[in-house]
Symmetry: C2
Subunit: 322 residues, 2 copies
């Protein structure tokens, strides 16, 4: 059994040694910049852990995991343009530091590097891996489009919201895990189970994000509490509140969305959420997905002790305070 | 021997039957729109002709050719955003008709479809095809970046310009042809020759574009004569003129670039080009690349009559008036 740190070290070493050319600078500098400002490398770690779960050496899943990680970074560059985001991992976003044009083209180039890493896999797995990757990437695009569409809509349902976060975030975790399984020669039934594990962990993770945004311990959170409310984001909390509100409460929610005093906006919205029991409902939905995730991984046909590291990661993600 | 029309029909049929989903509409509608407004489908035709050249059934190269064609269309969507272009093939560009955001994301999705088609090839060719494709796509990105960089520079050399058009346009023709050769099991030596053919035809084609822009027969050209001069584009003609100008001529060129009367701007610039013999020099450079292209294809180890269709296409491209 390898430690997560040993996986992360291997991944960082591989990313450091990526042969990204120097010229044209405006094409390649942004790629180097984004890869240097880091991230947790959670996705390639999952690929490697999944390979090990199914009895394969984790290093075998490194190229596939890196493809996922590079794709993830590519999608951040393009999403940040679309979302007009100034910061990423505490640093200026690529389009802010350079320009929209540069961010579009550098993103495209990074996407190619992702496929290049995927193509380094043994040709006997290649068709399967490519299919899995392309389907997943397309779903992530769909999720991003739904997210943008939601900004302009006032009738988004909880089901649509869950589907959006599934596509935008969770399928990539599922795919990272399934790729490890493919490379380890796992059965189709086990591949589906590890994919389901990743997918439901991902949804639970996003719901936890929504909850923490408002209910985290301010001393530990490190970000402004209630950021989603201030930005009028349609999170699970908000959508659930709309669903359960009386007409009076709905009017209140509506007028709160226009309130300029952000402190009072957050406090009053939280009060209304508390009246409706939103936090517990969100927590219950999160627990439901976490339970499905655990059920899925327990059903995999491997010795029980092998699933412990992945279960540990899931448990850690569910109980984080940041 | 199949006719070009029969290839084009097969390609159009395949593009018509692409299973592009309906929802989210803002993601998939732009893809359908761009694919419907057409194009000559020259690149997949080249892949199919190349397969046939090397004794393989041309249909075998259809998926690879489509991958190239879909990538080409993807790159048009993103290039049009970066170049702020309002029209493509006589229709509104995607970012004009929808928005920049939509064009970024739909482009990304179309790029995935391109890789999806490539992945439909026999797994024994897949590693080779993916490598070829990714290298080429990266070069096209480099070419686009150089093109954008050139707009802000005043010291672009002819060599840099030729390298830019090689990367931005010609490598994709070379790759389309080489993929057909890979699928037909051609030798590495022959693959290099057919690639060189495509690459030099591509450069010659672009030089022909530069010449036609100013020297085409206005009755046949269908576009404004001198469009590049009006837009102060750094074409081969312009760069060659700068290279050969005396100080007086250089000052003249410089002041012409700021002239508001476009008719007189075009006429006077052409006069100066004529004094310097620019048209003949451009034509000579074009002929030089065309000669290398012909030499490359003649050196391929196949019966001579098999190269005639590709030679015919090259000859047609070199003598076009539009």
């Amino acid at each position: 059994m390898h430690s997560i740190e040993s996986y992360t070290q291997l991944i960082e070493k591989e990313i450091d040694s990526l042969k990204i050319k120097d010229e044209p600078r405006n094409l390649y500098d942004p790629i180097k910049y984004l890869l240097r400002i880091g991230g947790k490398r959670m996705r390639p770690v999952l690929s490697m852990m999944s390979a090990e779960l199914f009895g394969e050496s984790p290093e075998k899943a490194l190229n596939a995991g890196l493809a996922i990680e590079l794709f993830h970074n590519f999608s951040l560059i393009h999403d940040d343009i679309m979302d007009n985001a100034p910061l990423r991992r505490g640093h200026a976003t690529v389009h802010e530091k350079w320009s929209d044009k540069t961010a579009i083209l550098s993103g495209d180039a990074l996407f190619v590097v992702a496929y290049h890493y995927l193509a380094r896999n043994d040709s006997k797995f290649l068709t399967e891996l490519l299919h899995n990757f392309s389907v997943t990437v397309m779903e992530v695009c769909e999720g991003q489009q739904m997210d943008m569409d939601f900004e302009l809509r006032n009738d988004v349902t909880i089901e649509e919201y869950i589907e959006m976060i599934r596509l935008k975030t969770s399928v990539l975790l599922g795919s990272a895990l399934e790729m490890g399984a493919i490379i380890a020669g796992a059965s189709m039934a086990d591949r589906k189970k590890i994919y389901a594990f990743g997918q439901h962990v991902g949804i639970a993770f996003q719901l936890q994000d929504d909850i923490l945004d408002l209910y985290a311990n301010p001393d530990k959170f490190g970000k402004q509490i209630g950021g989603d409310i201030i930005a009028n984001k349609k999170t699970f909390l908000q959508l659930k509140a709309i669903e359960l509100s009386s007409e009076i409460q709905l009017n209140k929610l509506h007028s709160l969305s226009a309130l300029e005093n952000i402190e009072s906006k957050v406090t009053q919205t939280r009060q209304l959420f508390d009246e409706l029991g939103i936090r517990d409902l969100a927590r219950a939905e999160m627990e439901r997905h976490y339970a499905i995730a655990k059920e899925s991984i327990h059903a995999i046909d491997v010795p029980k002790e092998r699933i412990l590291p992945l279960l540990g990661i899931a448990e850690y993600l569910m109980n984080r305070e940041v």
